[in-house]
Symmetry: C2
Subunit: 305 residues, 2 copies
């Protein structure tokens, strides 16, 4: 009697590919068993808004009630009004820097405390559930399988590194040093009795963590290339290609959000050949393993605890 | 019968302080048990030259035999001539960027391979031993003790992150993601058949990793403050102070190079109150645990294997 592996995955091509890949991993040295998994839309639900965006909106509402001028800044106005078109046009880096201004000068502890408080009272706008219930149960099982094979598992995000670090240990069992996101620079300072402390700045260390930058930042921060990568959007494309570019066989997993009934149905497109190509088409072309949420997962979210 | 702890440490104040600290760690949550240990002069011998400097000199000699113009660049000339005064004057950042130019465009694998080849034939200029024999045996035992108490142990270096990552797993059991040094930025690129790859740039991501920058970079890359820190020079000062600045009791360890017979005797000074103060004096003032190599260690280097 062996414990069933990937119990929330329906028997089929995706589950078979993953299990066969993991069964064949024996020849790969443990130090090369590295998996990077995107966060928003891959580990947890990113619709109707990114959880971190809700956090920013929450902070912005509180702050702008005291300082109405904040809402006059175009980047912040776009966030407050959930104007995704304007946000897309401005780009993640410009938005990230504007939002970083809200936390300028905070210590890492102050920022983490603000996130923890928000996460504690967060409920998803349509499911009315806490963050723990937005995590995809099948992906937690995949993380378990990877660790059973001695993989080092990192979480990669276009969102803020320090935001994701507040949830990655408890939700995914991933320690802070294995989170690679958009990174704020710090300034060393001294307070009372000369005690050292760190303050957040509004400068990014590196770039907004999307696309090719994900690959650059992972190498810089973690120092190892993946052989397994999972993502769901055009911003994960380069990271997924990277998993297949090394000396060992790779496994690139694309989560396809095709489940309007249990989650959300939407499509991510990437610019290729000067057109925008659905990421699922790219996946087929490049030999990735596409996971249909509707077809391949018997369960999407963990059972209520 | 219990295995002797810290067997290469002579009974005395330093060993007692460390063991008493570790015996009292039970109340500290495991996720807060974090130790950062400087590399050069703390984990391994840094005299008469940094091992990484010997690597650069080695590469420079090979390259300048084909391209004599290299030696005309003042930063590279200072390195080639081991002109420490000129190097100190130019500063670590300027030297680091000039040296990074030697590896501009290399992939992480190409760089690692050059380091591995060098390390494989390296012999210390006066001891005539390989790098494994330059590691301080008592520090390896300290790492063992920390891990026995479920500490996460990171290695921090003013040297290049990717250089240290080539030795940290085998010498210290520290994985690449737990190395924080001076960090080169990468550029995502594509080669034959559109395969993605990374190339080294000559831009630093962040600053040269010394002093206050060590603290800033550790937070950014790893996300956790230390409660134990060890170092040996003025460039470690802020990191050691940081270990004592958190909510839990900290342990700041200074390695004092006072053993001309078995290693080297030298002193590091930091600028304080507009004067330069020996780091050992600062240690006394701030309540750090100073370790005398001559007095506190029965063995400095591991027995020949």
């Amino acid at each position: 009697m062996t414990e069933e592996r990937l119990p929330s995955w329906r028997p089929g091509a995706a589950r078979n590919t993953i299990l066969e890949y993991l069964d064949g991993i024996g020849d790969v040295p443990v130090e090369d068993r590295v998996a990077y998994i995107d966060n928003d839309g891959t580990m947890w639900c990113e619709r109707p808004h990114y959880v971190q965006l809700d956090f920013f909106v929450d902070v912005l509402r509180q702050r702008s009630s005291h300082d109405p001028s904040l809402a006059g800044r175009s980047e912040l106005a776009a966030v407050l009004n959930n104007d995704t078109e304007a946000m897309d046009e401005m780009g993640l880096e410009r938005i990230a820097i504007a939002l970083a201004g809200l936390f300028d000068g905070q210590t890492p502890g102050e920022f983490a405390s603000a996130v923890d408080t928000f996460i504690g009272r967060y409920r998803h706008p349509t499911f009315n559930t806490p963050v723990r219930s937005l995590v995809y149960q099948p992906m937690l099982e995949l993380l378990d399988e990877l660790r059973r094979r001695d993989f080092t598992v990192g979480i990669v995000s276009g969102g803020g590194t320090e935001f994701v670090r507040c949830v990655s240990p408890s939700l995914y069992g991933v320690p802070p040093e294995l989170v690679v996101g958009t990174l704020i620079g710090y300034q060393f300072a001294r307070c009372d009795h000369d005690r050292p402390l760190l303050r957040r700045t509004v400068s990014l260390m590196g770039k907004a963590n999307e696309g090719a930058a994900k690959v650059e930042h992972i190498q810089a921060q973690l120092g190892r290339a993946p052989i397994v990568a999972a993502g769901n959007s055009a911003g994960d494309r380069e990271m997924l290609e990277w998993a297949n570019a090394g000396p060992h066989p790779g496994l690139a997993i694309l989560i396809d959000h095709d489940d309007a009934e249990r989650e959300f149905a939407y499509e991510s497109r990437a610019a290729t050949f000067d057109e925008t190509e659905p990421i699922t088409t790219i996946a087929d072309r490049l030999g990735w393993t596409t996971v249909s949420m509707a077809g391949d997962w018997t369960t999407v979210f963990p059972p209520p605890s």
